[in-house]
Amino acid sequence: MGKVILEVKELTTKYITRFREDIYAVDHVSLRVEEGKSLGIAGESGCGKSTLALSLMGYYFAPLHYTSGEIVIAGRNITGMKPDDVRKMVLGKEIAYIPQAAMNALNPTQKVISFIEDVIHAHDPSVGKKEIHDNARGMFETLGLPAEVLQKYPVELSGGMKQRVVIAVSVLLLPRVLIADEPSSALDVTSQKMVIKMLRQLMEIGFVGSMIFITHELPLLYNVTDEIMVMYAGQIVEKGTAKEVVFDPLHPYAKGLMGSIIVPEQGLRNVKLTAIPGVPPNLKNPPSGCRFAERCKYVMPECKTNSIGLRDLDGERAYRCILPEKELRALYQREVKTNA
């Protein structure tokens, strides 16, 4: 086991709406990222993936509020720090974030290079211009981006290029953890591949220590990350290595997600696409039992009343269901048989 860079224990954060209602978008989430490893977070829209990413940085702004739990980055506990301190000391150096709409993250009235100057000066005002320019050029060249890009305005760049520029800018200060929140969901397949290649490269060169990758595209996640966590309604419902989660999912929701994969490979045309019926529960008053119970095929009366904890299996594997592993597997097998 490698050195743990980021450790999160039972983190809970909430949104407070203007009607004073609490919405627990991240509910007792624990996770651990080791040096040189990447963690993927999967789940449908509104399950709390992006909120988790924001919460991990300790960067809380209304309506997002911290409730309980601990975040430890490289041995330093950042829970309870003020947002201003977090921005100065943690963001960029310890943890960097690529937002979902990274394409719009650049300032349209600034050239890329002056944007970079601003970023560096926000952390260390004493750095000279020449040093920044040399650094930036070096960084861009290592990552395979043409240096002319630095002198351009964002409108002159294509979508994929903008995305890669934003990634390059976000790792300028060599963060230990990089959080990539759907970095490629608005791009076509070729640009997506370039972005992924660049993220991989960052890890190989050592510009970033480890990575958290958020997306709803499972095939992508499988190819990029070592471990996958599946989130549903603010909770982790399954975690394990990428291979385990994709090919051998235990939780019924994770199983359902796998049914929505579309890849251009032989034989998959005949596989029926299975959509999970229904919608996720409203987190304003989440169900007291299993949060997936309403949509689950295998629901039992106890599911709706008993609160269900995360079951740990050997290794890093865990899932959140009332049924033990054996019974779940037996259920799935029976279903395969009846379908055949």
Binding site: D188, V189, T190, P219, V246, L257, I261, I262, E265
Partner: protein
């Protein structure tokens, strides 16, 4: 179940040129396309390959620089507003961005009522109108009672896209043009929407044109696939032919770029 005999739409030598002189861009370059009744066709290409321009020309939203579109054997005539309206009764579209597809001042009831009116239901008794609206919402797993008096922006992206399908359900066009209908939606809702579209196709027997950059999606839904590069079709054929045994280098590259789960994903090729 495509009907191999009736051609319902035909495009010949369709060309669109934007700009003049040095700024000239040929977005679509002499494209020929035959669409049979009841067929599902995908047009696949990267951003900027001219897919959407082609779609807009087929829809009659922009006029082609050169070439003709034939609809049900006759040359398409869009010279007057009346003729355009008649044409649009037969061809409808679902667009990429559900948030930009609705008039923000119209309530959901009005959106659906408009469709009933377009099919000549202006004189229907009000119970029948409500019944039809409820039926169309039921088809896409939306509850009509929860939607009345709401505006489209109060829905989520997936729900809006489903409402679009409800519109198509009421309109029953001959051709549906789906321009990246699922690219802004998460993978789970994508499965739901595709399933609904396919069910609707099976019920009404309409022709569906999918425009997408997701080659996996094209493989999954379509009978025929056209691969588009720089405004031209570089390859076409049945889904199995094109996707499993691609001939053009461009197709091979596109397929290579999609992350897969059973095969190794080669990152060294970009």
């Amino acid at each position: 179940m495509p009907d191999e005999k009736t051609i319902c739409m035909k495009a010949s030598g369709l060309t669109k040129v934007f700009g003049l002189g040095r700024q000239k861009t040929v977005a679509v370059d002499h494209v020929d396309l035959d669409l049979y009744q009841g067929e599902v066709v995908s047009i696949v290409g990267e951003s900027g390959s001219g897919k959407t321009t082609l779609a807009k020309m087929l829809l009659g939203l922009i006029s082609p620089t050169e070439g003709d579109v034939y609809f049900l054997g006759k040359k398409r005539d869009l010279s007057s507003q009346k003729k355009k309206q008649d044409y649009w009764k037969n061809i409808q579209a679902i667009f990429q961005d559900p948030f930009a597809s609705y008039n923000i001042f119209h309530k959901i009831d009005d959106v659906l009522l408009d469709c009933i009116y377009m099919r000549g239901g202006r004189k229907f008794p009000s119970e029948e109108k409500t019944g039809l609206m409820a039926k169309s919402c039921g088809f896409v797993n939306l509850k009509f009672e929860e939607l009345t008096n709401k505006y489209p922006f109060e829905l989520s992206g997936g729900q809006m896209q489903r409402l679009m399908i409800a519109r198509i359900f009421l309109l029953k066009p001959k051709i549906l043009l789906a321009d990246e209908p699922t690219s802004m939606i998460d993978a789970c809702s994508r499965a739901t929407i595709l399933e609904m579209l396919m069910r609707l196709r099976n019920e009404t027997g309409m022709t569906v044109i999918f425009i997408t950059h997701d080659i996996g999606l094209a493989y999954y839904v379509s009978d025929k696939v056209y691969i588009m590069e720089h405004g031209k079709f570089v390859e076409s054929g049945t889904a199995d032919e094109v996707i499993l045994h691609p001939k053009a280098a461009y197709t091979r590259r596109l397929i290579n770029d999609v992350p897969k789960i059973y095969e190794e994903w080669d990152l060294s090729t970009v």
